[in-house]
Symmetry: C2
């Protein structure tokens, strides 16, 4: 089949007019400009593509799922705006973040506005009312969990060391649930039975964990130019990623441990110090450990699709799971 990137680009092109259409100009101008910036800027559009693919893979009409795909992308963008503000990040995809460009209050409001618009769009879904209710249940639960996951992440950055299980719970909440709400919502709109909706939901939960683990790896060894941001910030923030948790448990040499700990949580660590810590993580097998774990999650995710008929959409969903941990951006 065509490569994942090409299919994502095709979905993206198909969705762009809808992403604009549901955010027509309105007053006040500064709020609207702040609200449309991230949705318009694009990104990989993995979440909305998954909504449409899930609707198709269960034998449904993908067009009916377009508003949900847009809504899921708005929710994703709303969380990015708020997260960037609370993390103090100044750049995203090479552009100025909302709180830097428009100020903190407008960043909060633009996020809130996108959140509201997402559910306005859902309220107009051309699906039976009982399907709308089910879609609403899974998406609202996801947003609730996103807030919990982000709070755990914030707590985690404040230097609390967490166990591997706790970290995985955090990324299930802060990343997986939105993928899963989109996939399950797409399947619901596509007319899937309860068991299939559940399988598709689990597929996306597992994929989300792999995606976030790989994201953590990329954030350490990725290409800063392609990523549009500097690498090593998780280390600077002292975040207990899978790699860090593995390293803290497995580095036996005291001197090396001391060296690693001297960089971990050092907010102004130099590029050189980050590269030193990265080497330590690689030598301790921590990067490989995270990649193996991500691969394991990917395989499990793909296994959940067994009950679906073989279709192009199913193939794409499988490929998407692999892409989640092979992408370079």
């Amino acid at each position: 089949m065509t490569g994942v990137k090409e299919i994502l680009a095709r979905y993206s092109k198909e969705l762009d007019p809808y992403i604009e259409k549901f955010l027509p100009p309105e007053r006040p101008d500064n709020l609207m400009a702040a609200t449309v910036q991230y949705p318009r800027a694009g990104g990989k559009r993995m979440r909305p593509a998954m909504v449409l693919a899930a609707a198709g893979a269960v034998g449904g009409n993908k067009e009916k799922a377009i508003p949900l795909a847009v809504a899921i992308e708005y929710i994703h963008n709303f969380t990015l705006i708020h997260d960037d503000y609370m993390d103090g990040d100044e750049k995203r995809r090479g552009m100025t973040t909302i709180h830097i460009g428009y100020g903190g209050p407008t960043a909060i409001l633009a996020g809130d506005a996108l959140f509201a618009r997402a559910f306005q769009v859902m309220a107009e879904l051309d699906v039976p009312d009982d399907v709308l209710r089910e879609v609403l249940k899974v998406t609202t639960k996801a947003v609730w969990d996103l807030a919990r996951g982000q709070q755990m992440d914030v707590n985690n950055e404040n230097g609390e060391e967490v166990t591997m299980d706790e970290y995985i719970e955090t990324i299930r909440l802060k990343t997986s649930v939105l993928f899963a709400a989109g996939a399950a919502g797409g399947a619901l709109i596509g007319g899937a039975d309860e068991g299939t909706v559940k399988a598709v939901h689990e597929y996306a939960m597992l994929l989300g964990v792999a995606f976030q683990m790989f994201d953590d790896v990329l954030g350490l060894i990725g290409d800063p130019v392609k990523l549009g941001k500097s690498v090593g910030n998780d280390l600077r923030k002292g975040k207990s990623t899978v790699m860090v948790t593995h390293a803290l448990k497995n580095i036996k040499d005291e001197k090396i441990m001391k060296e690693f700990r001297s960089v971990l949580g050092k907010i102004d660590a130099s590029e050189e110090e980050i590269q030193k810590a990265r080497k330590i993580l690689e030598n301790a097998g921590s990067v490989k450990f995270a990649l193996d774990m991500a691969e394991d999650y990917t395989k499990k995710a793909i296994g959940k699709l067994d009950r679906l008929n073989d279709t192009e959409d199913k193939e794409f969903m499988k490929a998407l799971a692999e892409y989640a941990m092979t992408r370079d951006v």
Copy 2:
């Protein structure tokens, strides 16, 4: 009939267990504590009371509307948390605000979480699915408008002078729409026809304007002890309330105008300066002007209820409109 305050207290007592019930303990602890603080702290509970009264006034079962009443109160509290953070307010109802008590990130997330929970609660409403869809449309539109209104308010504080019409548009968006979504939602759940839902919606829109205008007056001439906050902050922020807009148009004496302008927008204005500006507003007839206007809106609001049968709930809705501009807190 029993006084409005007593009925509000009764509704409040009835609702309190539900406000707790829909926010059971969950991890992480700090997010949950921040999320429940405002809903638990109470307040006048005017919005949820209006939801229940509207359901009853159209002949419906008030109990069915309880989850919507709770959801509207959560939405109200979510906006308070975010607004307090962006306004830099340190106290609400005599308590420390969320961003002061838990930090900015947790204030953002607690607001987001309450927003999400509001719609989770709505998704479980025991009403026909098509009614849920209509309730969803009116409430999501309201939250979208709340963000627009708050942004206009923020812009307004940044020193832009606005016309009376623009100010009224701002308070329709930042205050009225949530009252109106609650009232219309209650009427929908109560089984009202389209015309009645519209009338109840208009009633609450008009009431909301009167409520906010009176709130602006209270914020100037109210009792700081009862209000739980200091007075005159709108003047310090240079906000174009109805009173200020009226004064800037009607003060003819140049010296007095100069004196007034020297306080308007002076963020560190002393208590004495505020009292001087307040006297100027009173002498210019600006306070009376705002009160007359609020009274006019109240009368129009009550007029919208003509098509409802005479019931205790209708009486309460009328009394609530009067209370909106006679309360002392």
